[in-house]
């Protein structure tokens, strides 16, 4: 790792100032992507601004069915929150399946969505749950937030503070793991809101990162059942193809994972 300067500010303002004051600074939350990248000399930020000491960044609050999760909340905390599990078990289960215990106890939801790895799990949940991402400057709808592979609507220096969403009536996530990295090779989050609206979001498969599958949404809105997806053809255009899975296999897995997610959601 190249030399870097570590800061742990105690306010959002101080964090923003620290970012602005350095040549090439990066926010650090759980560091589960950034630190390995730095160790491999693939990233060399001159300063790391650790956001975990900022008040309000850690924790889950639930008011009625409105859920708010602080950006620096670990996957383990999301997975083990009884309150969250009571209103949205799908998201708790997703968090329980990220990486391994060491990753889950360091990695955070804000770090994950700020990085927007195309194989990360959380982006699919944010889209399917129609979540809103609150930054130190504004609130952004998830639909507008994820703009491409490793790309988001965040401006330079802008920091994710929390995510919030209304708990769905039903939701679940099904993931096909990459056999090597065990990231999502294809992951599908399905959610049905109280008014019968359905969202289906796919991660791990799209060339531009997470995306919605409208045909599946329509089919499930009409009939919430795995069988409702039988007639859907998933187009392999625009899907990733690599040494682990072709676009065609991913297209197939999208449908299989969607059906399994619907089954899991009940």
């Amino acid at each position: 790792m190249y030399a870097t300067t570590y800061h742990k500010p105690s306010s959002a303002e101080a964090a923003v100032a620290a970012i602005a004051g350095a040549d090439e600074a990066k926010y650090l939350s759980g560091g589960q992507t950034l630190l390995p990248t730095m160790k491999q000399h693939l990233a060399a930020p001159t300063a790391l601004i650790d956001v975990r000491g900022i008040p309000g960044m850690v924790g889950i609050s639930i008011a009625g069915r409105q859920v708010t999760i602080g950006a620096a909340t670990t996957h383990a905390a999301v997975a083990s929150s009884k309150e969250l599990r009571a209103v949205c078990p799908g998201l708790a289960n997703l968090a329980a399946g990220i990486g391994d215990p060491a990753v889950r106890h360091m990695g955070t939801i804000g770090g994950s969505i700020a990085n927007n790895d195309p194989a990360a799990d959380y982006p699919s949940a944010m889209i399917a749950l129609n979540a809103h991402i609150t930054t130190n400057q504004r609130t952004i709808a998830a639909d507008d937030y994820f703009t491409g592979m490793f790309d988001t609507a965040l401006e330079p220096g802008e920091m994710v503070m929390s995510v919030s969403f209304a708990a769905p009536a039903k939701s679940a996530y099904a993931k096909f793991r990459n056999p090597a990295s065990r990231y999502a090779m294809t992951g599908v989050y399905v959610a049905q809101t109280g008014d019968g609206m359905v969202r289906v979001a796919v991660t791990g498969a799209g060339e531009n990162g997470v995306f919605r599958h409208e045909a599946m949404e329509d089919a499930l809105a009409a009939h919430w059942s795995p069988d409702a997806l039988d007639g859907i053809e998933v187009d392999s255009d625009g899907l990733l193809s690599d040494i682990h899975a072709s676009a065609e296999y991913r297209a197939h897995l999208i449908k299989v994972m969607a059906k399994r997610a619907v089954t899991a959601a009940g």
């Binding site: 190249y2 000399h41 090597a180 682990h244 296999y249 197939h252």
Partner: protein, 787 residues
């Protein structure tokens, strides 16, 4: 059995330090004046070096030196060699291209080292290495051995036209052709053995120390054979004469073959230590390991097998292309020849076998022995074509094999090997019973009710290990003898030290070697210590690979113990006034049979060193050495049965049962042997379903980290069912055959045979990933049927 002798599952003496973090590995060593090495490596698979600008690195504070290949060769450091001469069938010697530890004018694979930075810290060395500017002229590259043989392929070494290292054959081609032509049935198939990365838990490491006052070198390194390392470093690389070079392999965390060889980094560190006057440490990171540790396997073959009207085998003809990578590694030439083609007779009574092997340069990491080394490739070929034949003939695969089993020993195969003992029917019977083959149809039906496809596959493997009789391998081109040495020291207090040329890097020798001493003399195992891995301590040794430490290394200890026992008997007979022939050693006592006259074990040791009352003319002391040269290879064999369950929706496949019935000859420590089988089978399942080194066509390594190279994990492998069916090896004193590689050799065909059975499509190559299985299911229409 209880106790600490042969056959007891004694807990490993070495594990206390390993599991409490007290092991001492090469990277744990810190010298007073230690500096760190980092290598400048080629990002291109093939390029000419037009210029090298090291000025930015040299200008950095804390950089001690930046050294290059021209300086290295200028100082007389020799090229890296392959130590086993193979001649092509036209009589010409193999075409070995020059391999300098640091490239001077051309790089031939991604990772090829060009220069080394020596700096005060590891991080600084790495950053300085990144600042070295190399002016490359990129050249066309080729990664596939088949493509490298094609007309117009990039030429990798000037002295290997068409990239051909050798074109070798074994067996009688015309007799084999005639036998196939006369066969009632033949089956032909193309068989690929995928390329693997060895991935020992501990990456390679070296600490090189040059003592200018004595002009003496010490190398601490991750080696499976420190004496061989010293020999090669001295005799071929001209680092220092042997008496001025000490090589120490301390605790070593796994090797699987990859730590047999002497690599550019160790040579360079020794030389750099002399150049800089500093101790130089280098420890590979995992990325370097993927791009520099010798890879394994990578064969492409076409095979034809013949059967007579009774479905007994007649002949086997094989044509193999072996990918050697960019340079010939230390034992590379022997792997696809004498460690591969000589095992193609398998467990079967072939009258004729012919194999042609073309060894080929490509722009990839050098390929050499990896757990099994040639024998997994032979076994995979045999057992895939056997199972395939059974399916084509509509015969039970176990029954088809039985029709051709060798049942009389010794048995001379058509491809050099003379099998000494075995019970192939017994192995198959035990495996079938333990695997409950009879209950398979019911399990398959039950799985089908859950929408799963269940399959069962066999593998009846045989391998040759305990390598090797020196005269035999010498006649086949080996540049070394493959005996082993031991010294047994009985101390004046009766404790025993065994100095062995074998090297333990996970095998548990500190326990098993002590067991044979405890067993022989009846002394407590804690009174026996094993010394290995240091050329200054141990007389000599050929090291540990090829499952040789039991059959060869322990045999040397037995030979030395024979001498110790003879001397003890003389001393006791003299002291107790009895005949030597009446002396027995039992339970830690030296007794006169049939009387109550005896000496305690330690009293004999003390008497030998006091020398107050020894037989006339006897030298004092109680220390004996022996060199043991085996008279034949040993032939572990067995039957593996794998049962899988395939999810037709995704191709995801679980190994639900795996049964191994092995014949390893005498077993010293069943627990350790069990561990060897577990590890070997895990590696075999890894090869069959997960692991694969992938290059782009132009030689860029795509599987350079665990993000892309799939290592087997705990949840990829089942709980194993293990059986033993022992026939004792008649050719060594303990009757040992060896167990270190069998699991990795025997398991891949069992896995692929099971998966292809489940999916009803035999067209499946390793690694059989979920995607490949899903595609194979689509070919057969199974997926649709299951939906």
């Amino acid at each position: 059995m209880t106790g600490t002798g042969i056959g007891a599952s004694v807990k490993r003496k070495e594990d206390k330090r390993f599991i409490t973090g007290k092991g001492r590995y090469t990277d744990d060593i810190r010298m007073e004046n230690q500096a760190y090495a980092a290598f400048v490596r080629s990002p291109h698979a093939h390029a000419r070096i037009k210029g090298l600008d090291t000025s930015a690195a040299e200008a950095m504070d804390g950089v001690i030196a930046v050294l290059n290949g021209k300086q290295l060769t200028g100082d007389g450091i020799g090229n890296i060699i392959c130590g086993w001469m193979i001649h092509s069938k036209d009589g010409s010697p193999m075409n070995m291209g020059p391999w300098s530890a640091l490239a001077t004018d051309r790089v031939r694979y991604v990772g090829d080292a060009i220069a080394v930075v020596i700096a005060e810290t590891q991080q600084l060395a790495r950053i300085a290495a990144e600042s070295v500017v190399v002016d490359y002229e990129e050249l066309p590259a080729v990664a596939s051995a088949e493509k490298a043989l094609m007309a117009g392929a990039p030429q990798i070494h000037d002295n290997a036209p068409g990239n051909l290292i050798y074109d070798w054959e074994i067996g009688d081609q015309s007799a084999t052709d005639a036998a196939l032509a006369a066969s009632a049935h033949t089956v032909t198939m193309d068989i690929t053995n995928n390329r693997l990365s060895p991935n020992p838990m501990e990456p390679r490491s070296a600490v090189a120390i040059h003592d200018a006052a004595e002009d003496h070198y010490t190398l601490y390194t991750t080696s499976q054979n420190p004496h061989v390392a010293r020999l090669v470093l001295s005799a071929f690389y001209n680092v220092a004469p042997e008496h001025k070079l000490r090589v120490v392999a301390p605790d070593v965390g796994g090797g699987f073959g990859s730590k047999i060889y002497i690599y550019p980094e160790e040579i360079t560190c020794l030389w750099a230590s002399m150049k800089t006057g500093r101790s130089v440490k280098w420890t590979s990171d995992r990325s370097e390991a993927f791009m520099t540790d010798a890879h394994g396997r990578d064969h492409v073959s076409t095979a034809t097998i013949g059967f007579d009207a009774d479905y007994k085998v007649t002949a086997l003809k094989v044509d193999t292309i072996a990918n050697f990578g960019a340079y010939m590694s230390l034992f590379s030439s022997a792997v696809p020849t004498y460690l591969y083609a000589t095992l193609l007779s398998g467990q079967y009574n072939f009258a004729n076998v012919h194999c042609n092997v073309r060894a080929v340069y490509t722009n990839t990491v050098p390929v050499d022995a990896y757990r099994g080394a040639g024998r997994p490739e032979a076994c995979y070929l045999n057992e895939r074509i056997m199972e395939t034949s059974a399916r084509q003939f509509g015969l039970d695969p176990a029954d088809l094999r039985r029709r051709s089993f060798i049942r009389s020993f010794p048995h001379q195969t058509p491809v050099i090997m003379a099998y000494d003992a075995g019970d192939f029917d017994g192995n198959l019977d035990k495996a079938m019973a333990a695997a409950d083959v009879a209950g398979f149809p019911a399990r398959k039906a039950e799985a089908a009710r859950r929408g799963k496809l269940r399959g069962l596959g066999y593998s009846c493997y045989i391998e040759a290990c305990g390598i090797a009789p020196s005269q035999a391998v010498g006649s086949l081109g080996a540049g070394v003898g493959l005996w082993e040495s031991a010294e047994v020291r009985v101390n004046p207090v009766g404790t025993v030290e065994i100095l062995t040329g074998s090297h333990s890097h996970g095998q548990g020798h500190e326990t098993t070697f002590a067991q044979i001493v405890s067993d022989r003399f009846g002394i407590p195992i804690e009174n026996v210590s094993i010394v290995h891995g240091d050329t200054d301590k141990v007389q000599f040794g050929m090291g540990t690979y090829g499952s040789r430490s039991g059959a060869v290394g322990m045999s040397a200890i037995v030979k030395a113990m024979d001498k110790v026992e003879a001397k003890i008997k003389k001393i006791a007979a003299h002291t107790l006034e009895a005949s030597e022939d009446d002396i027995i050693i039992e339970g830690g006592e030296v007794k006169v049979a049939g009387t109550d006259k005896k000496m305690a074990w330690h009293e004999v040791g003390l008497a030998a060193y006091l020398a107050h009352n020894l037989p006339a003319g006897m030298e004092p002391g109680l220390k004996e050495g022996a060199f043991y040269d085996p008279v034949n290879f040993t032939f572990p064999a067995g039957t593996y049965i794998c049962e899988v369950e395939v999810d037709p929706e995704t191709g995801v496949t679980d190994v639900v049962r795996f049964t191994a019935a092995d014949d390893f000859g005498t077993i010293i420590n069943p627990m350790i042997v069990e561990g060897q089988v577990h590890g070997g089978v895990a590696q075999g399942i890894g090869q069959a379903m997960l692991e694969n080194v992938v290059y782009t066509d132009d030689g860029q390594l795509l599987t350079g980290s665990y993000m892309d190279y799939v290592m087997p994990r705990a949840d990829d492998v089942p709980s194993y069912t293990l059986e033993h069916n022992t026939t004792v090896c008649p050719n060594n004193p303990l009757g040992i055959k060896g167990c270190g590689e069998a699991g990795a050799i025997g398991s891949p065909p069992a896995v692929i045979n099971a998966i292809t059975d489940a999916i009803g499509n035999n067209n499946l190559s390793m690694p059989a990933t979920a995607q490949k299985i899903w595609m194979a299911l689509r070919e057969t229409g199974f997926a649709k049927a299951a939906e």
